[in-house]
Subunit: 192 residues, 4 copies
């Protein structure tokens, strides 16, 4: 009966925000960004269209936040020191990558579906770069240590392979042997 404290309000807002982003992710993954409507998202979340605008000022912003929230949570899972990768960490990173793909299937589906659309890309470029740059740099350092002649190019090469494997897994998980590919990749880089 007593008025809710501002802390309680804060909690409600955070939870609802989370709910909207999760619902948006589901709907975006199925229908794509342009194909999904605010009504779809509201329906999935079980709330009104109007309420969504209480939390996000536009559909574009929902996409941005969906993507960057995903990147942030993924970043947190990598959590080892940001510099000086070891071979063990390299190996582990490959494992983690594929685990995340499986775990956050919907997120990655959205991520890749949006990756190639120039105009949507524009929206998320900043969040993306913030996350990807250090990873590429770390690999560049590692490959330098390992004696590769062109460590940056090798890092891009590795990144590309991971992208390709990820996409193929996302498109058609049934016929794609994750295990084989992980093993094969480790063989190429002589990882433990």
């Amino acid at each position: 009966m007593s008025p809710k404290t501002s802390i309680q309000f804060e909690d409600i807002r955070k939870e609802k925000r989370r709910l909207i982003l999760d619902s948006a992710l589901k709907v975006f993954a199925i229908k794509g960004y342009h194909g999904a409507s605010i009504a779809n998202i509201a329906g999935e979340a079980g709330i009104s269209k109007g309420l969504i605008y209480n939390y996000f000022s536009s559909k574009e912003l929902i996409l941005k936040e969906t993507i960057s929230a995903g990147l942030k949570s993924m970043f947190e899972q990598y959590h080892f020191e940001t510099e000086n990768y070891s071979l063990e960490q390299f190996s582990k990173l490959i494992d983690i990558t594929f685990d995340l793909l499986e775990e956050d299937y919907e997120y990655w589906k959205l991520y890749f579906s949006v990756l190639m659309q120039t105009d949507v890309m524009e929206l998320i470029k900043d969040s993306l770069m913030e996350f990807l740059m250090p990873v590429i740099q770390n690999f560049t350092q590692l490959f330098e240590k390992l004696g590769y002649a062109k460590p940056y190019d090798e890092a891009r090469f590795l990144g590309s392979i991971l992208d390709g494997l990820s996409i193929n897994y996302i498109i058609d998980p049934e016929n794609f042997s994750k295990e084989y590919c992980v093993q094969r990749l480790k063989t190429i880089y002589k990882l433990p």
Copy 2:
């Protein structure tokens, strides 16, 4: 005095059809299928919206034709026998692939942008499979001949790498060293 000959009309139609498909490709590549409007395509082509429907009965059909025209022209360029790949052909195929990426940059941008959108994928699946299946099969045969334990999985692994490299080249051609990656890939497979 006399009406335009049917040959004249045919020429006009062929040319205009080409113009529309080319314009569609450009616009689709930038905005994606759902994000691109018929008005955008008409604007790019410098014609009226209505005229587009004199040539294609729907937006869906424009996408289908754009994709399958691209696949067809690409298929013609591979042109070596459809069975029994040799290592030389394997090597050459990698070269050709990256040449095509450079040559038909817009097409591949569209191709990859469309690849991840479930609903759009549905529209072009048939054309796509018709082209991709034999390629995967041929590689499976080749890897079998080369003694790989799981030739189909290896074919998918190779395909994924090519996808990943292609996408990274398409997204950011300036900072991506095509030459390094081609060379690196050939080293992995011990190609000439």
Copy 3:
């Protein structure tokens, strides 16, 4: 402070629905189904085009609902037992019919304008038959009882006369003497 109650929303919806159907009736009656546009209806109702689709999912559906709402309300006014017409009821039915024509002028204008358009007819056939069949059957029974040699044909003959009189009244009410025709019709059938 609190959101609109669902009762308030329900009231708004009911009223607006009514408004749209009434406006549609007016416009359909003047321009016919194909000739009337959603913009016309929205204009007549003083609302936006978009709002109409908040209440009816298509133009077809608006027509269907318009027709069947009219038939339903008319059916309710006949209200005497559905079987075993008497001569008194026959006589009364003629009176009611012409009263309704006067009362629901616009509805009947639409009804008849739509009657002859094959494709539109297709849309409303079911609603129509549901209403008309029992009437024809009852008259067939009545004419059988009265000793007519071909009671069904006589029922169709009577129905045709009523149609013809109705249409002529609808087209040009000023110069058409309803009273004379009602009286004349009763004379033919020796009604009270």
Copy 4:
């Protein structure tokens, strides 16, 4: 090889005009005025869209001409003296009316489909009145001679019955007994 004479040209024009009107009638009868497109009519006639505009300056005009050409040709078939109907002529007129309905089914379908649409009606009102007025006047005179108290109202009553019977025959010729109704009508008016 020699240039066609202007008389030949005249003939060609007349024939083509006829062809277009006939084709328009067929298409209008099936799809209605609004539902039929110029392309449909051109297709039915086996000519180009452009050529139609060489003969008629608008779609509206095609409708007008279709209707009034039909009325004119019908008028010619009645052909008995325009004044002083006899009972024999009355009887014959009923017969002719139903013969024409059967013969020119498509025309009458169009005629009635267009009858109730206020805006289309506007277009053909003049042609219509030119034809209908004398018929109504003649019947008024006849009913006066026969001693009816309100001969004009009786003429409208008869006209309405003919309309109603015609419409019901047009809508559903299979289940409508023309013969019964003709006979019945003659009985009412004590015709030979």
